[in-house]
């Protein structure tokens, strides 16, 4: 079942000749219990998309269905069943953490507020801050309070915008673990972040958005396989400089470079990777390890966003 279904969504800003397309025929869906990453450079349209989904911005055309409800006609019902956490916003009220969360329990018309508040505070480890004014919290704690707020109504779809930005390593790990737990309980999550490690660790599927258009979507592996990159073989060897010099003489080697205690040998295809392996097996150098360096999601992201996707045989959907 799709918890979120977006079809041909369009939004323009401005008038006449100065019209700018913020979203251009955007379509994607999120299944129940799926973590979906939305990636794109600043100004790509991610915020516009989330604003429309939350009913804060009117779309020009297209269809948006959230938790099976139509955004145009059932916005209140949708709002009861989704929640949002924005990493970059703060909270600065003179309410204490406990009062702030209680206020949101009222806004969401929730029963058992004490139990819900205690559970949410426990989940993000802020129980000891219950009586502190939100105004006096550090930005990291404010983020945690906002995440606790987003958990109060046990949303079916949770929108997380940069949930760990600015947080220390320990709490970031805890929040990522919490996101996984929520997924296990069936919560669907739309995650926007610039942290590629977070995306690789958490997301089942991702979509890349640029200039208001979804330019690629699929699993992390699908997206990685969409880019045509040179293959890099990392060789740990006893005589780095001599090895680099020797291997460079092979006509199929594009380059070889020494990186600290390894040599990176670049070739253009898997066929040449095999040739390198043959060469290594016959060479007189003492080889300790050989590893094929896969392209990172970050690399794929940059290449796809810059329009350098070439590998059309991949499983990903390049749209």
């Amino acid at each position: 079942m799709d918890v979120l279904k977006i079809q041909n969504l369009n939004k323009e800003f401005g008038k006449g000749n100065k019209k700018v397309s913020a979203l251009n025929n955007v379509s994607f869906n999120i299944k129940k219990g799926e973590i979906f990453g939305l990636l794109g450079p600043n100004g790509a349209g991610k915020t516009t998309l989330i604003s429309i989904m939350c009913g804060l911005l009117e779309k020009d055309s297209g269809k948006v269905q959230i938790v099976g409800k139509d955004l145009d006609t059932e916005i209140t019902e949708i709002r009861k069943r989704i929640n949002l956490m924005l990493g970059f916003t703060g909270i600065g009220m003179s309410l204490t953490v406990g009062e702030f969360l209680n206020y949101y329990c009222m806004l969401y018309n929730l029963d058992n507020s004490k139990k819900r508040i205690s559970k949410a505070m426990d989940a993000v480890d802020i129980t000891d801050k219950k009586d502190m004014k939100t105004l006096d919290l550090s930005s990291g704690y404010k983020q945690r309070v906002l995440l606790a707020k987003a958990l109060l109504n046990e949303p079916e779809l949770l929108l997380l915008d940069e949930p760990t930005v600015g947080l220390d390593v320990e709490i970031s790990i805890k929040i990522r673990s919490l996101i996984k737990q929520l997924q296990k309980k069936g919560t669907s999550i739309l995650l926007t972040t610039h942290n590629m490690y977070e995306v690789e660790e958490l997301c089942d599927r991702i979509a890349l958005i640029s200039h208001g258009k979804i330019i690629a979507q699929g699993s992390v592996d699908d997206i990685k396989s969409m880019i045509k990159v040179d293959k890099i073989i990392e060789v740990e060897v006893d005589n780095l400089k001599d090895f680099a010099k020797a291997v460079r003489k092979q006509k199929y080697v594009i380059s070889s470079k020494v990186f600290q205690d390894v040599v990176h040998v670049k070739v253009s295809s898997y066929a040449f990777v095999r040739k390198i392996l043959d060469y290594l097996s016959k060479s007189e150098f003492r080889i300790y390890s050989v590893r094929l360096v896969e392209p990172t999601l970050e690399e794929a992201f940059v290449k796809i966003i810059n329009g350098k996707t070439i590998n059309k045989k991949s499983g990903g959907k390049n749209v």
């Binding site: 800003f13 915020t47 516009t48 989330i50 604003s51 939350c54 009913g55 804060l56 911005l57 009117e58 209140t76 709002r79 009861k80 989704i82 929640n83 949002l84 924005l86 970059f88 916003t89 703060g90 909270i91 600065g92 009220m93 003179s94 309410l95 009062e99 209680n102 206020y103 949101y104 009222m106 806004l107 969401y108 018309n109 004014k133 939100t134 105004l135 906002l146 707020k149 915008d161």
Partner: protein, 253 residues
Amino acid sequence: MFKRVYSQVYKNFLVMIRNYFRLFDVTIWPIILLFSITLFVSFVKGQSEIVAMVILGVTGWRAVYHMQIDITTSYMEEYWSHSLNHFLISPIKLYEYIIGNMVTGLIKFLIVLTMYLTIGWFVFSFQLVNIPLVILGLVCLMIFGVIIGLISLGIIVIFKENAYTAAYIIPDLLVLLSGVYYPIAIFPEAVQNIVKFIPAVYGFNILKSTIGLATVDYPMLIMTTLGWFVFSLLFLAFCYNYAKRKGMLARMT
């Protein structure tokens, strides 16, 4: 619905007891306003009816003020605390928000009213005559306060803090034009022709009529109140939809 309406009362009172400015708004400032005018009137040997008119006028002014100010301030409170977007995506409906802030305004006004009646009685031997009529006058002025609150909210939804000052200035200007302590006959005729379309004129006249200092044009009271009320609802709806269309409701970042 009740919880969402109550959420506004809950938040406003917590903010009020923690924020001196908000607390003084229902304690110190109303008392200063009352004394600054009543003491002046006593000093110039004003008749007891004039003192009564001043007390009723100040009371009516506070009725307008408290009913409108929370509708706008509560929204700005969310904006200033950077949680407006979180608030707006919650399931609270606009009318629940408005009712919640009307209730807050009413409670605050009742606190001020109690203070005024107590001070008026002890210091100036002031007593209400024709209580039902006084209540009617205050209700009319409270409705006018809500109308002004809705119009100010509409402006604030689009212009945020740039328009918040207007939320303070517009009601005071309208009240002054409504003949708060004086008949509107003191204005030039051109101004009179305009201000007779302000419902507060008739609300203040009801209060003044309880001490025999004015007569009330009830048909005009009803027509102007209805007209302004319908206009304020349409204006707020227009501003909200415009802001939603243009992405001005709340910035996500």
